[in-house]
Amino acid sequence: MTEKETLLSIEDLRLYFRTTQGIVQAVDSVDLRLGVNEAMVILGESGCGKTSLSRAVLRLLPNNVDTYSGDIYLEGENTMEMADEAFRRQIRWFKMSLVPQAAMNALNPVLKVGDQVAEPLIVHHRAEKEEARNQAAWMFEKVGVPVDFLDRYAFELSGGMRQRVALAMALITLPPLVFLDEPTSALDVLTQANIFNVLKNIKKELAVSFILITHDIATSSELADSVAVMYAGQIVEVSDARRFFTDPLHPYAQLLMSSVPKLKVEQEPTFITGQPPSLINPPSGCRFADRCPSAFDRCSEEPPVFLVDGQQVRCWLYRAKGVRA
């Protein structure tokens, strides 16, 4: 996991929102590191802050932000020190782009999909229309959309094709990092497998890094080089895919893994009792302690991150086995 050159490094990132009920700690002190051409999966239940994390990195923020702090180094440069306009001109679409949740339903219904895919090039790279269209045609080929679909409208395409168009749009400026927010959650099994085949190809051919945000563990393993598990605004485990899918460390990750219904293995899935805590006044100490089967008295203290054989885990159970990070 550490051999690859660092592309993105997030340090102590916090994003809190103001609401009428109080401050929501959506992203709370997140540290992450992503290598060049690496695909990282951020796993978590709905409401755990995984979408907010991607918004924080891309600085796509709503109006009610209370705290927005930390450091984000992208190719060695601290983007948190940049002004909004500089960030828009130099980072967004150039260095990082996003395929938002339900992107396939967000395509403009009155624009031809080819024009929509070409638009970021025209806006950000000041490309000529002709040139941008050619680039769009090339990108369509890469994501597996027939080139004659350039002149179609979104409603003429199937869900899988629209999702590919959304992906082409995010890739058209060839950014080194693409965020994928639940890219296949509304698609059928075969289409889903197809999209992941496309993503694997693109990762190989264009050397892009992906951050894949999802709650679907089984499909996330299709792309993952490494996995970060998020719970109640915090990252509770980071490890490489091989270790994670065979032997997750954090009790939450273990329970999550055993809650996946499996097709090829005989195993009764279990479920996690209770609900994630509110992010308005999260419990002090470990946030998973209430639902954790192996909780003990130490869990009332905030657990630090322990390093166990290269896996990072935020859990007191590993105080003896690991070293403090």
Binding site: E45, F245, S259, F271
Partner: protein, 358 residues
């Protein structure tokens, strides 16, 4: 040119139906067990008329095209298929929301199309419906108590105390306790899992014999999915319910159903017991579905999946012969694209509509 889809399926049976009609019976299996059959679907065709400029006929969407099966008392079946294969239309026809253009649905030996409005209401109290998106299925301006008493009011249970008692009984059964905490809540105050429990409670409140669940867990988080599936399983066993579980996710069906039906482009292509389908899938489409469903495993990222090319066909002009033939890796030239495959029974009680097993 504009194409519009009518809200209701067309009632005038088009001429082309007689040519494409390919009804074959199940053979001995359906006859032998007819005694305890609860629901019987025979040669069901549900077509929607397409209109051009609002009045010209522009063909039909053959959403369900020749489906037959029997469902016994207390049996759980899973209908698996991709979106657009007609599984939701099939379900809505079973619930009496759509009228078939041909064929019929019989519940307790009564043809649904022959029921009077009053009898239809009785039928609806015997067939509960669990929707896919719990938040969309619950009226946002009603409290849980009102949502749950509504079906009983419509069914004519006038005594408030009886209704209250029933609500408490069912809520306790789905483990929404303490009941009083939930009665006054609105749907948005509940988590996704709790909302889905309310939807299930509402389906159960009139003590139905049949529950139709349309992707009941696909909108929920992984950690609560299993909880909801277990709940349905428990209710099914304790009330001897017949359940039709509709999904596109094969990995959840196995924990729930006795039999799996695989549907493709408006037709059932394979029917068998859960383990037979999962261990020995026969139809190439079923095999493709199974191959595309991942289990969590890091090795998935290292290889590409073999998938059938293309996409499901348009149901307006479905392919001749077997509807899967344009995508099928095992196509038999000169046969699959010409003639519609009948149901074969290569193994006992394992039916598949594929020429490979002729």
């Amino acid at each position: 040119m504009t194409l519009e889809l009518n809200g209701q399926p067309s009632n005038n049976i088009p001429a082309e139906l007689s040519e494409t009609q390919q009804f074959r019976s199940d053979g001995p299996a359906s006859a032998a067990t007819s005694r305890d059959v609860l629901l019987s679907v025979q040669d069901l065709h549900v077509w929607f008329e397409l209109k051009r400029w609002g009045f010209l006929n522009a063909g039909h969407v053959r959403a369900v095209d020749g489906v037959s099966f029997d469902l016994h008392h207390g049996e759980a079946i899973g209908i698996v298929g991709e979106s657009g294969c007609g599984k939701t239309t099939l379900m809505k026809t079973i619930l009496g929301l759509y009228q078939p253009v041909q064929g019929n649905v019989r519940f307790d030996n009564q043809d649904l199309s022959e029921l009077t409005t009053r009898d239809m209401q009785t039928y609806r109290s015997k067939a509960g419906y669990v929707q896919q998106d719990p938040y969309g299925a619950l009226p946002p301006f009603m409290t849980v108590e009102r949502i749950l008493s509504e079906p009983m009011v419509i069914a004519g249970i006038k005594d408030r105390n009886v209704r209250d008692q029933r609500i408490r009984e069912v809520l306790t059964e789905v483990k929404m306790t303490p009941v009083d905490d939930f009665l006054t809540k609105f749907p948005h105050m509940l988590s996704g899992g709790q909302q889905q429990r309310i939807v299930i409670t509402r389906a159960m409140i009139l003590n139905p014999q049949l529950i139709v669940a349309d992707e009941p867990v696909s909108m929920l988080d992984a950690s609560v999915r299993v909880e909801i599936l277990r709940l349905l399983q428990r209710l099914q066993a304790s009330h001897h319910l017949a359940v039709i579980y509709i999904t596109h996710d094969l990995s959840t069906v196995r924990y729930f159903s006795d039999r799996i039906f695989v549907m493709y482009a408006g037709k059932l292509v394979e029917r068998a017991n859960v383990n037979d389908i999962l261990r020995h899938p026969l139809h190439p489409y079923t095999q493709a579905l199974l191959a595309a469903t991942p289990d969590p495993d890091y090795r998935n990222a290292l290889t590409h999946r073999e998938l059938p090319p293309g996409e499901p066909p348009s149901l307006v002009n479905p392919p001749e012969g077997c509807r899967f033939h344009p995508r099928c890796p095992k196509k038999i030239e000169g046969l699959c694209e010409v003639e519609v495959p009948p149901n074969f029974e290569p193994a006992p009680n394992h039916y598949t509509a594929c020429w490979l097993f002729r």
